[in-house]
């Protein structure tokens, strides 16, 4: 099921995962079942993924995060928007991030 993120909403990491940074790599460790497709899977974020992850602090709307990333990278705003939306949609689909309480679609 594709879950769509909303630019006007604020997202935060789910309490059902723990993000660990080890040797510069962010590993996302599920606490509950159903997040990984199979038991032996872990999720990792590279430096850019980590930068986006760190923006999901429960304060900034997704649209603001995209604008912030667009200032830092040389790609077109459209391309960055598409990629950040793609990443956060995947994270939302897997319940690795959730919208903050009170957020409405």
């Amino acid at each position: 099921m594709i879950k769509k993120v909303n630019l006007d909403l604020v997202y935060i990491p789910s309490q059902d995962v723990v993000a660990r940074e080890i040797e510069g790599v962010v590993i996302i460790v599920p606490i509950v079942s159903g997040i990984a497709d199979i038991e032996d899977e872990l999720f990792t974020l590279n430096e850019t993924g980590k930068a986006i992850w760190q923006q999901l602090d429960g304060k900034k709307k997704l649209g603001e995060i995209i604008k912030s990333m667009a200032k830092k990278f040389s790609a077109t705003p459209g391309e960055i928007r598409e990629d950040v939306l793609g990443l956060t949609s995947e994270l939302l689909r897997r319940r690795i991030i959730v919208k903050t309480p009170g957020g409405q679609d």
Binding site: V18, I22, I27, D40, E41, L42, T48, S74, A75, L91
Partner: protein
């Protein structure tokens, strides 16, 4: 944080990836340096069984031991320190970890630190409540030792009537729920007659990861009466070799690695360093009352640290240097174990020597005899 000249297209490719645990490139990085990646937590020394060969068990109702067990808060703090040092895995063991009334709280405290938690259990205390819990918060793995596959043999080992039925019920609950279980075996005087059946039973569950252990080390607490029971359960060197030969995966592995296992160059070793294993390279162990060791069997007082008095980081860093640099110039060590060409076939190490003799650098005749028997069988 970023270079505007770096292609977004290049960087985005690996934003987020899912990978199999075994294939993470991170492991290579960790292997190239001394990094903590796992620890064992003996959450209790108490057990509901009373196995003849056990090196740790105290009675389930031992109030003094129970009073001294690390609290959930202490465990949470230790786990936090361990994860700060890089730990990814945690083995929750005992005694019998499910014996603790706060088992669920301990387990969740470890999981919430981002640890992959495995459990060693005898499975006799597994209930539907445990199953619901593990299905919601899956462990990495649950390992269970199979002491026998008949009631008579199983309970000859455990000395608890009804324990076999409880073990089978617990195992069935876990496997029917699809919770990952690995079975293993201990080769004992009391169950050697049933070992072929035990091995077959275990391999039906996990053929590739199955292992059995014919070596019984002595008690952590040095209890002399219990040590005599353990010694009585030990197989003779000839029985160990016969058992290893009868199990092709193990014997083939020994034969394949023969050239590294029997090493004439060891005779040229001049260093008096006691510890020549990978001790302290990536793992540590904590007892139920907070005693830090680099190896679960290493109990010499100069090699341990009390975590109720000092932190994990201090033990991991400072104690490590001290232990790794320990030396012996005793002739018993320098003329024997230090230069033994078959030491890789032997169960000698300073930790085991200390449990056997009270000294880290003593020769242990029992170990020598097993090593010679193994050498003979490999050369033949």
């Amino acid at each position: 944080m970023s270079d505007p000249d770096v292609s977004w297209g290049e960087m985005k490719k690996k934003f987020f990836s899912k990978q199999l645990l075994a294939g993470l490139p991170l492991w290579k990085v960790l292997n190239d340096k001394r990094t903590l990646y796992s620890f064992e937590l003996e959450s209790t020394a108490r057990c509901n069984l009373d196995c003849r060969h056990c090196y740790i068990n105290l009675p389930a109702g031992d109030l003094e031991a129970k009073k001294n067990e690390l609290s959930v808060e202490e465990i949470t703090h230790i786990a936090g320190e361990a994860t700060s040092l890089g730990a990814i895995w945690c083995l929750l063991t005992g005694g019998e970890p499910l014996l603790r009334k706060d088992f669920f709280a301990i387990y969740l405290a470890l999981k919430k630190k981002g640890l992959l938690v495995s459990i060693f259990t005898n499975a006799t205390l597994v209930t539907p409540e445990h199953i619901r819990f593990f299905m919601k918060y899956p462990p990495r793995n649950i390992e269970i030792t199979v002491y026998g596959i008949t009631r008579a043999t199983y309970e000859e080992v455990t000395r608890k009537p009804g324990s076999y039925h409880a073990f089978r019920r617990g195992l069935d609950l876990l496997t029917e729920a699809g919770i990952p279980v690995t079975l293993k075996a201990m080769a004992l005087r009391s169950n050697i007659h049933e070992m072929p059946e035990i091995i077959r039973f275990c391999r039906k569950s996990n053929a590739e990861s199955f292992r059995f252990d014919p070596f019984l080390h002595l008690r952590y607490d040095g209890n002399p009466a219990r040590n005599l029971e353990i010694i009585a359960e030990r197989l003779s060197p000839e029985e160990v070799v016969a058992l290893e030969k009868s199990y092709p995966p193990r014997f083939e592995a020994l034969k394949k690695n023969c050239e590294t296992l029997i090493h004439p160059d060891f005779k040229k070793v001049t260093s008096n360093r006691l510890f020549r294993c990978g001790i302290g390279d990536g793992n540590f162990c904590i007892s139920y009352n907070g005693i830090f060791r680099f190896c679960s069997t290493l109990w010499h007082p100069d090699c341990v640290s009390d975590l109720r008095k000092g932190g994990v980081a201090d033990a991991w860093n400072t104690l490590f240097g001290k232990v790794r640099s320990m030396e012996s110039t005793r002739q018993e060590f320098t003329n024997n174990c230090r230069i033994c060409s078959i030491k890789n076939l032997c169960t000698w190490c300073p930790a085991n020597a200390y449990l056997e003799t009270g000294q880290l650098d003593s020769l242990v005749d029992t170990f020598c005899r097993l090593a010679y028997a193994r050498e003979k069988s490999l050369k033949n």
